[in-house]
Subunit: 352 residues, 2 copies
Amino acid sequence: MSKPTIRDVAKVAGVSQGTASRVINQLPVKPALKARVDSAISTLGYTPNALAQSMRLKYTRTIGIMIRDFSVPAFVNFVKVAQNILSEAGYVLLLAASEDRPEREAEVLNAFASRADGLILTTNAARENSVEKTRSNLSLPVIMLDREPADRQDAILIAHREGMHDALNYLFGLGHKRIALITGNASARPARERILGYREAHAEHGVEIDDALIRTRNFSKEYAFAETTALLGSGNRPTAIVVGGVAMLPGVLRAIKTCNLRIPEDISLIGGTDPDLSELVEPPVTAIQVDYHAIGVEAAQLLLERLNNRIDPSPRIIKFDSKLVIRKSCAPPSSTRSAETELRSLRRSSDT
Amino acid sequence: MSKPTIRDVAKVAGVSQGTASRVINQLPVKPALKARVDSAISTLGYTPNALAQSMRLKYTRTIGIMIRDFSVPAFVNFVKVAQNILSEAGYVLLLAASEDRPEREAEVLNAFASRADGLILTTNAARENSVEKTRSNLSLPVIMLDREPADRQDAILIAHREGMHDALNYLFGLGHKRIALITGNASARPARERILGYREAHAEHGVEIDDALIRTRNFSKEYAFAETTALLGSGNRPTAIVVGGVAMLPGVLRAIKTCNLRIPEDISLIGGTDPDLSELVEPPVTAIQVDYHAIGVEAAQLLLERLNNRIDPSPRIIKFDSKLVIRKSCAPPSSTRSAETELRSLRRSSDT
DNA sequence: ATGAAAGCGCTAACAC
DNA sequence: GTGTTAGCGCTTTCAT
C-alpha cells in the first residue's frame, strides 16, 4: 500500500497521465475530465511526489540555511524575517545546524546541494579543505553569513572589528587597562576580527596587551563560563570583560555570580547580543548590538535576486555596523579593588 | 555548464554507467577500471545527485522536525540531542518553523512528505482540517511532540496539567487566591492541559476562578508582555502570575519591570522553562521545569526504531513529568499590598 | 566483473 | 484539448 502516483490517478480517472498532470498544474482541461481527475485525486489521497517534481523541473522551491547552532537568540530574528520574505516568494525554508563540526558541515552541504535552490550559510569550512571543496562545488547561489568568502561570492559581513574597537574605547575611557576578551575560535572571521579590533584599540591607547586576557576557543556558553571563572580566579584579575559572541552571555553571568562578584563595582562587563537577557538582568548589560533583523532582510532579498538572475553576477559584499548600547554594567575600575573584593567575597561566602 | 552526472563520469572514464555507479557505491570493481572512474570523478568534480538517488532508492536518509518557533530556548536542547542521535545513525536533520500558521504547516508537511524518511512534529493541525488531512496522509513514521495524536500514532506528551496543578498547590499554600495564568492558544494541547490543571487545583482548594485572570491566546513573548501589563494595570490585580509557555518569560519580566513592581514582594511569579534567564535574573524565578534533553533522546530513539521496523506497530504514547523548581520569586501575598505598591510605584517613577 | 536497459514519478514536447 | 512518450540522474536487475 504505497503512495498513489499520478499514473494511479490517471488510471482511476480514465484519462492519460498527461491530462492528470495538467489538472494538477492548473492548465486548461475540459471540465468533465477535470472533475473525474479531481475526484480520483481525492479518493486516492494523491499528493505529488516533490522529489520527482524537482528532478524533472530542476528546481525545488526550497532554501537551505545552515547555522552553527540554534541556541543563538540573535539568529532567531534573522531566521524569522528571512523566512517571511522567502515564504512570500514561494520558497520553503529548511534549517540545519552544523554544530561547528566539519564533518557535519559537509553532510549538510551535501544534503542541501540537490535539495535546495539557494543557500544562506555560516561555515567554518575555510579551515577544512574537504568542506571548502564541497562548498565551492555547489552550483547554486550561496550567501555567506559573517564569513569572508573564499572565492567570488556574495557575503554579508558584520563589522566586528569596529564594534570591538568601540567597546574598548569606551572601557579605556572609563580608565580600564586590564580588559579580557572572551570569544570563539579565531579561525573563523567573527573572532578573528574582534581580536583585531581589540589589538588596534590597545595600540591606539598605548596599552600593552596581556595575552593571558584573550580567551578564544569556541562560542558556547559552557566555554564562556569556564574562561570567565578562570579569569576571575587568577591572581591578576581583569577589571573588565568583553564578550565577543552571541550566545556566551549566560555563561559569563553565571561565572560572575558564582564568584560572588558585583557588576560593575567589581568587574565591568560588555556582553554579546542577547536582547532579552542583557536587558532583564540586574544591572542591565552594556552590549555590542547588531541589527539581525536588517541582516535577515538583506540576506533573503539578495538571495531572491540571485535566484531570479536579476542582478549582475559580480559578488556583493554587504557590511553591517554594530552599535555599542550603553546600559549599566560598566564603571571605572576601583583602584583599591583587589583587596576590597577579596574581603567582600570572603564575607559573602561565609554567610551562605 | 551544469553539474556533471554519472553519465559524464562513465563517458570520461570509458566505462558503462553501471560500473561508475558500482565504484561510487563501493561495490567490487576491477582496480584498473576503478582508478579510471575515480580520476574522472575528481577531474569533473562529480557529486551524486541526492534527488535522483532518493527517487530510485525510496529513502532519503533525512529526518524532518517541524516546530512552532525557533525562539524557544527549551527546544534547543531537544534538537541538539536528537540531532546527535540521528546523525550517529546516518541521518541528516532538517528543521522548519511553522510560525503557528496553518498554511505554513501544510507547506512544510508537504515539503517533508517526500524529502524525509521520518518526522518529529509539533502541529496545531487539529484545528485545521486541511492541515490534518495533509498530516494523516503522510506515509512515513511521525512522532508527535506534545500534541494529542488524532489517530493511532506515536506521541511524546508533557504532563502540563500535573505541572500546573503542582504550581498552583504551591501558590495556594503560600496563601494566594488571585492567581493569573498566561499561556498560549487553548486549541492546542499544552495550553488546554494547563488550563485543566489550573481549574482542578482551584476546585480542590475551593477557590473560585475569576476568568479575567486566564489569558490565553498565543505563546509569544510579545503577547506575554501585553497580557502581563494589562493584568498588572487592572484595578483588581492578581497576587501571583503563572506563565504557561516556554518562551514567554522575557515578556512577563519586562512588563513587571515596566510597572515598577517587585518580585516577590508585589507579585509572585512562576515562569515557564528558560534555564538561563530564570536563573540569572534577580530574584531567580521559580519554574515548572521539563527535561527536554530526555525528551529529545526518547523522540529520536523512538523514531529510529520505527524506521528500522524494530518495534511492534501499535502506537507508543510516552509521557514526561515536569518538576516545580522552587527559587525565589514567590512569597505570601501581602494583605496591605494594594495601597503599598501604589505608593512605591509613585515614588519610583518620580525619581527617574 | 561488466555492459545494456528498465524504471523510480513527474512534466513537457509532440502529434493528433 | 488530449494521448503518447522521452527523459531528469540514478541504481539494479539481467545477460554476457
